[in-house]
């Protein structure tokens, strides 16, 4: 991800940070006159002085991502099953909600959750999740559910009907056949789709700035504004964090996929 494209994205998404971006861009252009100095020691020192602040943002990013992916799975998996095996009203209802959630910009969903629904805060004992955080989790989580349901619809549907019929033929109910035969195979085939979805949610968490939350990317804008000469250093630093997060998660899912791979392949 290049620095300018990130900035362009930010500028398009957020009227609030247009000022910050403009300043940052000016800094980049000015720096261009005297060649860009990525290794400027003072700027790196600035980044590391603020590392705590950025890492705090990274924790927010990770927390929102994990919670949203989990919620997305818990809601999206049954939804995918209903779309695959259901019929009539339940199926049409789930499909329609999915279409709406996938068709609405995430900013709108978040704003709706926070300002319109006014999702309340909850006290988990150890931590209290503010209304904004809860809105973020619900908004990102439900939208992820709408996408995850499509992953599972495709993978459940790809399990050969003959196997389900064989399960029915030994006397399993439809639900048992789905649970013991289709689901274990569909989950294995869902790993690549799941990797994509994880990466998308991770990056989309930045949009919670629209409801006043400051995760990794939003916090990095704050730093641009404070020290316009350190834009590139900040971007390199947060890109490294994003890279570590996506890389480790994708590798972990690769490993999971290999661990559970069916010996000899999937043909039956």
């Amino acid at each position: 991800m290049s620095a300018t494209s990130t900035l362009a994205l930010v500028a398009a998404d957020s009227p609030a940070s247009v000022g910050a971006v403009a300043t940052a861009l000016t800094a980049l252009v000015d720096g261009g006159a005297a060649p860009l100095q990525i290794g400027e020691l003072e700027d790196w020192a600035f980044v590391f002085r603020n590392a705590d602040y950025l890492i705090g943002g990274a924790l927010m990013t990770v927390g929102l991502t994990v919670a949203s992916i989990l919620l997305g799975f818990l809601v999206g998996f049954p939804a995918g099953a209903v779309e695959t095996y259901g019929e009539g009203l339940p199926k049409r209802l789930v499909e329609s909600v999915g279409v709406v959630l996938r068709g609405t910009p995430i900013v709108v969903i978040l704003v709706f959750m926070y300002f319109v629904l006014g999702v309340p805060s909850i006290d988990l004992g150890v931590v209290t999740l503010s209304g904004a955080v809860m809105s973020g989790i619900l908004g990102l989580g439900l939208r992820s559910a709408a996408y995850q349901s499509q992953i599972f619809r495709a993978t459940l549907g790809s399990v050969d009907d003959g196997q389900l019929e064989a399960a029915r033929a030994v006397g399993m109910s439809q639900l048992e056949a789905i649970r013991h035969v289709a689901v274990p195979q569909a989950l294995r085939r869902s790993v690549p789709g799941f990797q994509n979805e994880f990466t998308i949610v991770l990056k989309d968490t930045s949009i919670v700035f629209a409801i006043g939350l400051a995760e990794l990317l939003t916090r990095s804008y704050d730093l641009f504004v404070e020290r316009t000469t350190a834009v590139l250093e900040v971007i390199i630093f947060i890109s490294a964090i994003y890279f570590v997060l996506t890389f480790t998660t994708n590798r972990a899912l690769d490993y999971l996929g290999e661990y559970y791979a069916i010996p000899g392949g999937e043909s039956a």
Binding site: Q163, A166, G264
Partner: protein, 271 residues
Amino acid sequence: MSDADSNPDADANADADANDAAESGDRDYLRVADISKWYGDEQVLDDVSFEMDRGDVTVLIGPSGSGKSTMLRCVNRLAEAQEGEIFLDGEEVTAPDVDVDELRREVGMVFQDFNLFAHLTALDNVALGPRRVLDLSEAEADERAHAQLERVGLADQTDSYPAELSGGQKQRVGIARALAMEPKLMLFDEPTSALDPELIGEVLEVMHDLVADGMTMLVVTHEMSFARAVADEIVFLDEGRVVERGPPEQLFDNPEKERTARFLDRIASHD
């Protein structure tokens, strides 16, 4: 209805079946009476009737699309007949209030394409039904699965996954999976049609063993020498109708209907 869980030793059970078969006289263990079925406007079964005694082997033959698979599938209610009745061991299979899951525990089915569970080992393929449907303990189900895999000659392949097995081995796992439920009746839908010729023998051999054990079997197959060797009755279906039925000697050597003779000629010239 189920006496399946009382005795994990299937061979002993089958012997008992064979004795019962010798004693009972009426051919009404399986009774298919005037079955008709339509898919949309197309009638695929037209007044089909035949009966089987316990321990009988009946072979359904007929050209492609004549309704053989559909007839088998009506017996375990994977397909629903619109008219007629089917009785198994005195109980009406086609009654609207029959618990189909319970019925299917007692009727084993073997498929042309094996339909093994791709994510499970041979052992788990066979043990899944006993575990989930018969509620046997893990150990009992595994023991039963082992015994059935041994019966089909796969004692040393219990840990193999379907993709690691040859077609003949897959089909034998498929047979063991059906047998592990200790069914009253086994349905075979062209069990050797998807196999390379050199693998057909091992599957037929297992089926021969089942016949010897006294299993009641309704078989769709094009293996005429197998049919001739083991069938008590051959039923020839064409366009959803029973054209002719009778013992193999009669039907194969002296068919009454011209249609039957033509079909047999065509099959013979293919071999």
